[in-house]
Symmetry: C2
Subunit: 429 residues, 2 copies
Amino acid sequence: MHASINDPELRSFAPASAESHFPIQNLPYGVFRPKGGGEPRVGVAIGEQVLDLALLEAKRLLDVPALTGREVFNRSSLNAFMALGKDAWSQVRARISELLRDDTPMLRDNAALREKAFLKQSDVAMLPPIEIGDYTDFYSSRYHAANVGSLFRDPESALPPNWLHLPIAYHGRASSVVLSGTDIRRPLGQTMPEGAKTPVFGPSRAFDFELEMGYIVGTGNELGSAISVEQAADHVFGMVLVNDWSARDIQRWEYAPLGPFLSKNLGTSISPWVVTMEALAPFAASGCEQEPTPLPYLRSPGNPTYDVNLEVWLQPAEGEPRRISASNLRHMYWNIRQQIAHHTVGGCNLQTGDLLATGTISGPTPDSLGCLLEITRGGREPLQLGDGVARRFLDDGDRITLTGWAQGDGYRVGFGECTGRVLPAREQL
Amino acid sequence: MHASINDPELRSFAPASAESHFPIQNLPYGVFRPKGGGEPRVGVAIGEQVLDLALLEAKRLLDVPALTGREVFNRSSLNAFMALGKDAWSQVRARISELLRDDTPMLRDNAALREKAFLKQSDVAMLPPIEIGDYTDFYSSRYHAANVGSLFRDPESALPPNWLHLPIAYHGRASSVVLSGTDIRRPLGQTMPEGAKTPVFGPSRAFDFELEMGYIVGTGNELGSAISVEQAADHVFGMVLVNDWSARDIQRWEYAPLGPFLSKNLGTSISPWVVTMEALAPFAASGCEQEPTPLPYLRSPGNPTYDVNLEVWLQPAEGEPRRISASNLRHMYWNIRQQIAHHTVGGCNLQTGDLLATGTISGPTPDSLGCLLEITRGGREPLQLGDGVARRFLDDGDRITLTGWAQGDGYRVGFGECTGRVLPAREQL
């Protein structure tokens, strides 16, 4: 990576305001289709525009050594590009940055090419960026785990005995991962109401969001091998925002002993732009102190996490969006490298396109909690939204929007948003 | 389906003994590649041969209405064929049966075509039959759940409170599902030995098999919709044998509260031949009595399960295979239809190629237990294999082979075998 690619002083001829999530320092990848018609293809967000990489590739403007002769952007997912590995990611990003710089005439001064290569984001439909193989969800915010343990189990033993020794995770459902903007139907399911003797069936009455981030495996490992904590970062292509919608009443009844199932496989939303780990590099940060010291295979020195501001906004069917939480990726106890080292230490194979998520990213303060279960203390203390509007859990019609960005000096490396609206449960048979 | 297709009297000109798993009444699908070279393609097992369906399709011998104009067998998985749905499965099976009957001259009397269309099973390499989307594992033998609960938790409350009300399941890891014959490496991992104060890292000392069956989703449902218990059978293409290798010491330490993770994502073996639900239809059987009566969405009248004999054989590195368990699919408390209805009732979408497994199929007697954890009571009572050989859990070099068949009058509808050998753990860094 050329050192200057992340330089705060870098400017593009393609405009991006100081508040834009997509200045030249970011260059996140997504898959789009022009609303006017055409095949899905890969693009990069710049300001309020998308740069069509399939077009640049066809015109041989992306002929970096790692790509030559390969067609990876005229595709409906990022998988082919990701599978090429870290060197290719680096070379391509450097080349795109170069093409977009205000001192590079190639695109800047070619009006006919610019006309074709740039589309307004409002003129394209975003598509799922990744063909997801497996989806794993971790449980790596200590604040979140302690809060949930205290509500679901026992305040005295809120944190499970294994929690400080390993990054707990479960396999999620890949088929129900959907793109931001997809409405999510409130699930029907089986629950055991407090005090009841037999379970009942009906719409979830405790439907919740979860503020998470996800990271995408760019290159994997063979079954039976492992990725060490030192190698882990090289395998990660980039990150997205994740809302892991959860039905708490279904979860509470079903989760013992094999973990959450129907409470979480009804839909998981991801944001459309994949922000690369290279773009996040300037925002590397130290994580939480880890005491007890983890076993050697989990020891991760240096600055293993990132300073990414995260927000949750709730918009009722009638009314304006209100910010209901402000957290940060730094609040994770277990970092991404540790999660990958743990995931593979027994020989499990990760593959290009796998989605790994952090788990709910709650911070230490009441205004930094990552789900309503925590904010309302299990529904006992309604969240006041103003104008007499309050929520214990989500109502039909509520829209949840996650957003996140790393704050640079005069610019932002942002994730855009991850949004979804709650649809009423389907009619019962 | 033509009534006669499953007729016990039906005979093929392609030989199959009374003990063969693959007589004309079975016709299971698999994907193979001739050892002499060539592309992967779909075939059907008949006796000790494979019938090359890609060849028959190319020669237009499979022109049933549901297939016409489609190429679905010149592929490296069954997914394209499965996606066509139940009518297509039925038409194709009837047509293959017709072509193989001893009173159909088409293939029988065409030596040149027979020479090309039939291969010895010993002359082909089997490949994974399915492109698996998601993998779900249930926990549906009451005997197994009670035995495990008693060992992992508390004999007094062995069966979790929700167990009799819903078919418990967890999402498994799809990437680590491998074909029978693949060796499985003993995992390294974190465990908390009894009496220890801090966890240790090393090779699993309680490596186990699990006797299961898996079924393959042929056609799925949209996210937000459900498949009712009445419709469920129409969505299932067929079944395979499954060995869900498990590291019990890792499982015990990691599983609370989000379920098994590294203890089970190190490798899951499946058998190569997919036996269709049509071929199993004559072996439909009543399942276990269900008390309390399940909620309406889980009520499944009729004969909702199948009488399939199952066996587990253990062969030490030096020595002959010994049968260590004999169970039956009928011992499942929750049947396949109930599992599918539950899996989708909250709106989770199943997709063509998803693998759903039953969980360990233990029966009521000591000789019908589906894993060593149960057979040896958590390692406390070693299994005597004769000649002074005993096992608490699996040793390096041990081979586990599962087999299964439905017994007809003078013929078997069988699954062949699902086999794998334990490799030593990889060297620690």
